[in-house]
Symmetry: C2
Subunit: 457 residues, 2 copies
């Protein structure tokens, strides 16, 4: 009996202690972040002292300097910049849209509008009747009506989708490719319903692109209330609108990823990356998108240094350049990794806001995922778990150049994200301190676990 117990203890205590040590270290990180975290104060600086940070703006350059200085203050082994060229899209003026006639009668009604990012200006005011469609199918059926008109896409969110990113993915097609699909049939411009869940009238911008060899017609997103009103009017009869935008591309500009690194003590050639993107749209402070991801990244670095954590593997903390309208930073990070033949085992992005965390979503195959999923119990005290599927725009290229890199994303609660995403309402005041810090806790936990145990099943 005594021998059996001893044997039992000899076999099981190390395993138990291991798990307990993990749980204790994660709690130490959590306590330190919730008590001493600087993410909220840093976000204040980034949003209020610098502001909107579209590639090509002076603010993006200031943000690089700010990010580098703050990384250096935290004392990683090194901090370096990775140069890239980013597109330089300028909004160029105050976007304008208005209803000017309903059923043949003159009627002036301004519409809250923002030009879509990367869209070209209208070259003066354009005026035309609206062809309002609810889908690309409807556009195809009514293509003969489109020539010389302005197409309005009723790209409302499917409110019944509890995961709002799914509704965004669907309705987002109109923003991304609606202009060229309408230009093909001779449209002069397009308007969309903002990709918004908010019960307000703020228009939401966001990137679009044109197909080659088609006219680059102007494109605006309307405030949700105005968009619904326009759609209702257009279903009853003819509606004439005006629009004017000023978008243009200047020459590409010098841009930079900002990277901090802590060298691994056992497996220095295995890289773990975590990051968010430093740029934002021009119309807001980029607080949730992606100021949150930036300060999450800095916070994980801060807590690891504050607790004197010595990683086994090399950890990279990256503030990516130009996610919003080019992904040049993410591509350059992947190119450099490939050029230097770096073994990137894991990359984690925070680019879904600073809301209360629900999970760490990991894209991994069966056996590896099972290993990660077993860590759910270690995340649960901090409100999260490990779920299947996840990544981020900036780390996607890394997985494309090296398919063995496992990518993951912080999954915050998504109910409020599209209320303010790409709208003027994405400001510091709409970020909650505890929710923000808790995102960093869960990121720190998963990075710690990957560092301790690697990614092999």
């Amino acid at each position: 009996m005594k021998v059996t117990l001893t044997l039992f203890l000899a076999l099981f205590i190390p395993i138990f202690s291991y798990a307990q040590a993990d749980s204790l270290f994660i709690k130490r990180m959590s306590d330190d972040i919730m008590r001493n975290g600087k993410a909220y104060e840093l976000l204040y600086e980034l949003t209020k002292k610098i502001g909107g940070r579209l590639a090509g703006s002076p603010q993006q350059q200031q943000a690089i300097t700010w990010g580098k200085r703050n990384m250096e203050l935290l004392g990683p082994d090194k901090v370096f910049l990775q140069a890239c060229k980013s597109p330089n899209w300028k909004r160029g003026g105050a976007d304008f849209a208005a209803i000017v006639g309903v059923q043949g009668e003159a009627r002036i009604q301004p519409l809250a509008a923002l030009a879509l990012g990367n869209s070209m200006g209208s070259n003066g005011m354009i005026e035309a009747e609206v062809v309002a469609v609810a889908s690309f199918d409807e556009l195809e059926k009514r293509k003969s009506e489109v020539k010389g008109k302005i197409v309005y896409y009723h790209s409302v969110f499917d409110e019944t989708k509890i995961q709002t990113f799914r509704a965004y993915g669907e309705s987002g097609a109109f923003r991304r490719s609606g202009a060229s699909r309408a230009a093909k049939y001779g449209a002069l411009g397009i308007m969309i319903h903002s990709l918004s869940t908010a019960p307000d009238n703020a228009p939401h911008t966001g990137s679009m692109s044109y197909e080659k060899d088609l006219p680059m017609i102007p494109a605006v997103a309307l405030g949700p209330n105005d968009a619904k009103m326009l759609y209702a009017l257009a279903q009853k009869g003819s509606v004439k609108v005006q629009m004017q935008t000023y978008g243009q591309f200047l020459c590409d500009v010098d841009d930079q990823n900002v990277v901090a690194e802590i060298k691994g003590s056992e497996f220095p050639n295995e890289y773990i990356t975590l990051g968010g993107h430093l740029d934002s749209w021009d119309v807001n402070e980029g607080a949730h998108d992606d100021g949150a991801g930036v300060v999450h990244t800095l916070e994980v670095l801060r807590v690891m240094k504050a607790l004197n954590y010595k990683p086994k593997r090399t950890i990279r903390f990256v503030l990516f350049a130009n996610e919003e309208n080019g992904v040049r930073g993410g591509n350059e990070y992947a190119n450099q990794a490939k050029l230097k033949n770096e073994n990137h085992i894991f990359a984690l992005e925070s680019d879904a806001g600073g809301f209360t965390p629900r999970s760490i979503g990991i894209t991994a195959s069966g056996a590896a995922f099972k290993k990660f999923q077993a860590w759910s119990n270690l995340l649960k005290p901090y409100g999260a778990e490990v779920t299947l599927g996840g990544g981020g725009t900036d780390i996607g290229p890394l997985a494309r150049v090296n398919p063995s890199t496992i990518i993951a994303g912080l999954v915050p609660d998504s109910q409020r994200y599209f209320d303010l995403h790409h709208a003027k309402t994405d400001v510091f005041e709409n970020v909650n301190k505890r929710e923000l810090l808790l995102g960093a806790v869960n990121m720190a936990a998963i990075v710690y676990l990957i560092d301790q145990y690697g990614v092999n099943p």
Copy 2:
């Protein structure tokens, strides 16, 4: 083989279909709530057109009329009022607190302050030195210093507690009983650090009570920033403060629970109750506390009627009176249930805010809980699960008069609740529409499941 398969199907299809029917009906409710829900618009009316609704205020009477009318419009089998007498505490004036001396030097510094609910006025301005303590232990050790002084309790939240209700439970002891514990040693008044997680200076009120036969000394909560400043000064040397409050109780007032009922078709004598409380503190709109619970309750009634759901059991939708400073409504509901010998099998309260739902917390013993827990998969698509432990102040009395009543609470994410709980910031603008509606979805789902399957293991 063929026979075996048939047998297999015969055995398992009914079970499968059952679960699928549940999942489909819950999805129908969710779709209808997320698309056509009226909770947000009703909350606007309750908060912006009526406002703060402390028992004894004209607004509480307006809210009763409003609640009854809105229930009637939804067409349940009956709507009735349950009369009770509620306490009638009046703040009576603009609470005042200030530092007037530091280390013997005159220094005037106003402090953001709110009298605690149920506390008595100071009878003019009082001025005294501060004894600042961080715990009741410290108060006991320093009891000889307290006579003629004003005791300040440094009742800060433990920020490391991820479940903020736990920190509230701990720090709340100073608000609830700090006055009498200091009065016992001759204190003239008390001040506490507001029970707040917010990085702002808004003071938070909330209920307190006095022990018998001790002086009913005035009690205020200070804004978090001012409280921390006062505590820091008091640790360095003597600090003199002034305070003036005006609290008083007038005669008890007529109050009412507002109750809607849909009669059960199979087990009409088994009652399921869901509800929130109609009253709020006087200093805000009571949007999260507990406007959210009120409109959740109305929303579940709305969707059940909209989908023409005929419950097996009798479902009661209750807007409770006077939760904040007396629980007279909850007690009356329990008394009536006992008097009428009603068999209340289950009661669910929403009184933790209109934030994104995380779980339905159910207080039940082993076998019953296992049954409920198996429904977690049906809640997961809507962001929740079934967790052990939960209830609410208004339904607690029901379980006390009938211990077989199973009680439960909606558990929303708690990170933001104590930023605004009992402070002027608990207003409509701080409620998110989708988060609010999603709370109703999960409440509707659990009420539906209890109605279909009862509570017996």
